[in-house]
């Protein structure tokens, strides 16, 4: 099967990007040094092509109630032009995907799924519509997605739009004109920095990318690939589907039980997975099996996904889900599920790095939090 190309493919190639297969899409991994791209987002700004993300439009008189039923969040309680981080679970509580839901109108929502799960989410939503006056529309081909992230993002975007950026709250969106093109402009992102995500027509993507590149030229904006996106989100302690989140885990296992809203007032309080999630919540409260923690190493070798975490006596106590050198901290970091008895910040444990036990310390997530 050939890889899907984004509307910005020619631009990436002209910029000399190293491309990679990501969930069936040919995506830029990095343009030059992923470390420099990472640091640019922390100190100046970075420009990302995220057109592989899966947009699904849910509309109709019962769109909100339907999403309350299909997802774990209290979506109908979301204000118009606001966004929320949420999840879609199976009947048994297993996580199908983590999502951002944008309420674009009174009776319309845009659900953004991970590229690798977009079809799964689409199918699950479609299968859950029975009894609701709602339409679920596959809008994956309708949007390209460009993100501007970093402390300079506000100034850069502000120079090519009349939209009220200072008035746009975190996790809010508005219809706007950017560089002459109609877009959905959202103050969301996945880097731990202030920034914006711009949903646009694919035909407009190259124009917007170029306009933003020019607007950011003297502000340190650089194009950024998926490699630094991953290290940025890891430092920010954000979970990645397939690593920290899987169908084998519930939101409570992942320490994200707060996204499950048992207090929904629609559908009689029922939603897909409720029963299993109530049990998971009770177990997490009374006797959590494993906890998601951060690990920091003073060494140089990097704890990577699937490496085993061990106690001082060498007993296996957990598994790394994501690990990388942290460009901001200057040392290796990792996220891991470890037995609750070893999950307290400050606990000294070790990681089996290809046969050698490298000492690491348990820390609270996130590793990095921007100053506000």
């Amino acid at each position: 099967m050939s890889l899907r190309l984004t509307a910005l493919d020619a631009l990436h190639r002209s910029l000399g990007a190293t491309m990679t297969d990501f969930a069936g899409w040919d995506m830029p991994l990095r343009y030059g040094s992923e470390r420099e791209e990472h640091l640019a987002v922390r100190t100046k700004a970075g420009l990302f092509d995220l057109s592989h993300m899966g947009e699904i439009t849910v509309s109709g008189p019962q769109a909100g109630e339907f999403l309350d039923h299909a997802l774990v969040g209290f979506i109908s309680a979301l204000g118009v032009l606001r966004a929320r981080y949420t999840m879609i679970c199976r009947e048994d509580g297993g996580i199908l995907d983590d999502l951002i839901v944008y309420r674009t109108a009174e009776n319309e929502y845009m659900v953004v799924a991970n590229a690798s799960n977009a079809q799964v989410v689409l199918d699950a939503l479609a299968a859950r519509t029975e009894g609701f006056d709602v339409q679920v529309r596959d809008d994956r081909d309708a949007y390209a997605l460009i993100a501007v992230q970093g402390p300079e993002a506000n100034g850069i975007l502000g120079s090519v739009t009349d939209a009220d950026l200072p008035g746009l709250k975190y996790y809010a969106l508005l219809p706007a004109t950017v560089a002459g093109k109609d877009v959905w402009l959202a103050r969301t992102g996945y880097t731990g920095e202030d920034g914006f995500e711009i949903f646009c027509a694919p035909a407009d993507a190259a124009h917007l990318w170029t306009a933003l590149t020019e607007a950011g030229a003297d502000k340190g904006l650089v194009p950024c690939g998926l490699s630094c996106r991953d290290t940025l989100r890891l430092e920010a302690g954000m979970p990645l589907y397939g690593h920290e989140l899987t169908t084998e885990l519930t939101p409570f296992d992942a320490g994200l039980g707060r996204v499950v809203r048992f207090d929904k007032t629609t559908n009689g309080g029922e939603f897909v997975g409720r029963k299993a999630l109530e049990a998971a919540a009770a177990q997490a409260e009374a006797n959590p099996p494993r906890k998601l923690v951060g690990l920091v190493s003073d060494g140089k070798r990097v704890p990577r996904a699937e490496y085993t975490v061990v106690a001082g006596d060498g007993t296996p106590i957990g598994t790394i889900t994501s690990g990388s050198p942290s460009p901001t901290l200057g040392k290796p970091i990792a996220i891991a599920y470890v037995d609750a008895a070893h999950a307290e910040p400050g606990t000294a444990v070790a990681v089996d790095v290809r046969g050698k036990h490298e000492p690491v310390e348990v820390v609270a997530l996130p590793f990095y939090k921007r100053a506000r």
Binding site: S33, R35, S227, V302, S324
Partner: protein
Amino acid sequence: MSNPTHLQYTEEHEWLTTAEVGAVATVGITAHAADALGDIVYVQLPEVGDTVTAGETCGELESTKSVSDLFSPATGEVTEVNQAVIDDPALVNAEAFEGAWLFKVRVEATDKLLSAEEYTAFIGG
């Protein structure tokens, strides 16, 4: 990127300065390999006095995204390692063919080596 013609190469992307038995060869990895790895953050090299074997693992290179074995292009005793690269692994990305040599080995034997032209063709350049 061009591969210097005075060096010889392996299909594992190492270069060395000489294959002459008894001579001391300087060993590194190619710019192509360094670029493919991405930002290199950790380099583990053999120690002075170790005997390395052509085609076998003698260390590792760790980048942001992955770990790669370092293979020795020659059999022989290691006579020197480049401390500058251990201290600053990013040198490998910056100067693969010059400052970022990895170790020196007194050559006893080598496996099949490629000329710069052959290596360039091998990597599809």
